[in-house]
């Protein structure tokens, strides 16, 4: 099994498209950090202007943690798209290039092959999230230093510096679980398709459609919203509440894991029954 995963990982990392995600993340993070380096102080001043009328604010608020938090907010919806480019191609790519017949003519169990592809896809998405974490936090702290994190969302939360690292690690951990859903969904489309492009595009369409429904706060969608996995993608923000609502967080995690298992289960069932014609 480990050998199979190794082979699949070699396949993934031997393609140029696998590196597009890494390049894109590093480029976007750098671009955002430089723009915040230039204009960040003014933006922060605008936000805290009225607060400064009543309070003396002393300390480094425009720090690496704030930058990292802003980047996570900005990129969280785009990272799945980068994951899809690789994971959508896991099965369909083989079908498209006609290599499946050759692989499956050897004594390799179909289920083991699918699991190996799934695990290697998950490893890829995990590395992508880790790269995002390391670049945003590393460059952020390098450029802007450390300090408490001010979050002005539904209210003003000021989180002490000594609590931030575990919160960020947990948030990235949550992100990895979110990416597991994307890997599972794209694997499902990949199993159903015989060309590389369709599963990638289909996964992207589903993510965009679900995200639109999630963000539209109208009663018509309230019932559907609860079952869409995109609703729980933003739950990592719970980790940056002053008092973390662990119950809500666990419920969100369970939703994401159940979705992942469901998508993978269907993929497994289809792949086992699938006629390999290419």
């Amino acid at each position: 099994m480990i050998k199979l995963i190794q082979i699949e990982l070699i396949k993934i990392f031997s393609r140029f498209r696998s590196y597009i995600g890494f390049i894109a993340i590093i480029f976007i993070v750098l671009l955002l950090e430089i723009s915040i380096l230039i204009d960040g102080e003014q933006i922060l001043k605008f936000i805290t202007q009225n607060l400064e009328d009543s309070f003396y604010l002393k300390g480094n608020l425009l720090n690496g943690y704030l930058i990292s938090y802003v980047i996570l907010n900005t990129l969280w919806i785009h990272i799945p798209l980068l994951v899809t480019i690789v994971t959508g191609d896991l099965i369909a790519g083989e079908s498209n290039s006609g290599t499946f017949r050759m692989i499956l003519s050897r004594p390799v169990d179909r289920s083991k092959l699918l699991i190996a592809k799934y695990i290697s896809g998950f490893i890829y998405s995990t590395i992508l999230v880790i790269i995002l974490g390391l670049t945003s936090l590393g460059l952020g702290i390098g450029f802007f230093g450390k300090g408490d994190l001010i979050i002005i969302s539904t209210k003003i939360n000021i989180l002490p510096e000594n609590e931030l690292l575990w919160r960020f690690f947990a948030a990235f951990g949550f992100g990895i679980i979110s990416m597991l859903v994307i890997t599972s969904l794209s694997l499902l489309f990949s199993v159903c398709s015989n060309n590389s492009i369709s599963p990638i595009i289909l996964t992207m369409v589903v993510i965009i459609l679900f995200s639109v429904i999630t963000s539209f706060q109208i009663p018509f969608f309230s019932g559907i919203r609860k079952i869409l996995f995109t609703t729980y993608f933003n739950s990592w923000r719970l980790l940056f509440e002053f008092s973390v609502d662990y119950h809500k967080l666990i419920v969100s995690l369970l939703h994401l894991i159940i979705n992942s298992m469901l998508f993978f289960g269907i993929s497994f069932f289809i792949f086992k029954k699938k006629d390999i014609l290419s």
């Binding site: 607060l51 009543s54 309070f55 002393k58 000021i158 510096e161």
Partner: protein
């Protein structure tokens, strides 16, 4: 003098004179008290202390913070902290000595018990037109000659109330300072820059939540250590450069 034999007009004049005389007596008494307080507070030229800051404002969540505060007469302040701190502009810099040093008018507004301490209420009206404070009401612990509450009405920053608690009966500087102020006008661009995932806090929806308090506990006072003015100017330079 027999009050029963006096006619109505004479009675009225008599009561008026009595009131005027009592008012003058109280007024003189108040002036003496204010002068005593001024004298007592004047003995503090500078001080430094460790402070613990607790902010209780509905739309702000911040843990208890530690800092060190430095003060020098008449109104130089400096704060030092290892991490981020928020300190109220109102109240913390309010100097009883300063308000009693300007040209003011005063009025005795009676007595009141606060936490079993009998206090005399004196209203101070600054007579200088460009002074920020319009009216300051002081609750004075007459037996210890110190202020235990002050309500300050300002031109630009609304009204705030300061409650002071002390370690010992003869202390001048407080052990605890509780500042209560209006927060309804603090308009924060909630959700700006970052997406919001829930209901944006609307402080204007709930009038009972329009007040905020900041509780500051003082410890390790060092009084009259001879702080230089230049020590306070360092911070002013930094303040102009950044949000600090």
């Amino acid at each position: 003098m027999n009050l029963y034999r006096m006619n109505y007009r004479k009675k009225l004049i008599f009561v008026f004179c009595l009131n005027l005389f009592a008012g003058l007596l109280f007024s003189q008494d108040s002036k003496v008290l204010l002068d005593k307080i001024k004298e007592k507070y004047s003995s503090i030229i500078d001080y430094q202390a460790d402070i613990n800051i607790r902010i209780n404002v509905d739309f702000i969540s911040i843990p208890e913070k530690k800092a060190r505060i430095y003060y020098k007469k008449p109104n130089l302040f400096k704060y030092e902290a290892d991490d981020f701190i928020m300190l109220p502009k109102k109240g913390l810099n309010f100097s009883i000595n300063e308000i009693l040093s300007i040209n003011y008018s005063y009025l005795n507004a009676g007595v009141q018990n606060i936490n079993n301490i009998k206090t005399e209420i004196i209203k101070i009206i600054p007579l200088e037109s460009d002074y920020e404070i319009i009216l300051a009401t002081l609750w004075i612990d007459k037996s210890n000659t110190r202020v235990i509450r002050a309500e300050v009405n300002t031109k630009k920053n609304g009204t705030f109330i300061i409650d002071l608690a002390y370690f010992k009966p003869d202390d001048i500087l407080p052990a605890t300072l509780k500042i209560t102020f209006d927060v309804t006008y603090i308009d924060i661009p909630f959700g700006f820059l970052l997406e919001t995932g829930g209901e944006v806090f609307n402080k204007k929806n709930d009038i009972s939540k329009s007040e905020g308090t900041v509780i500051i506990n003082y410890s390790n006072y060092i009084i009259n250590s001879g702080l230089n003015d230049s020590f306070f100017k360092e911070q002013k330079k930094k303040k102009n450069a950044k949000i600090k």
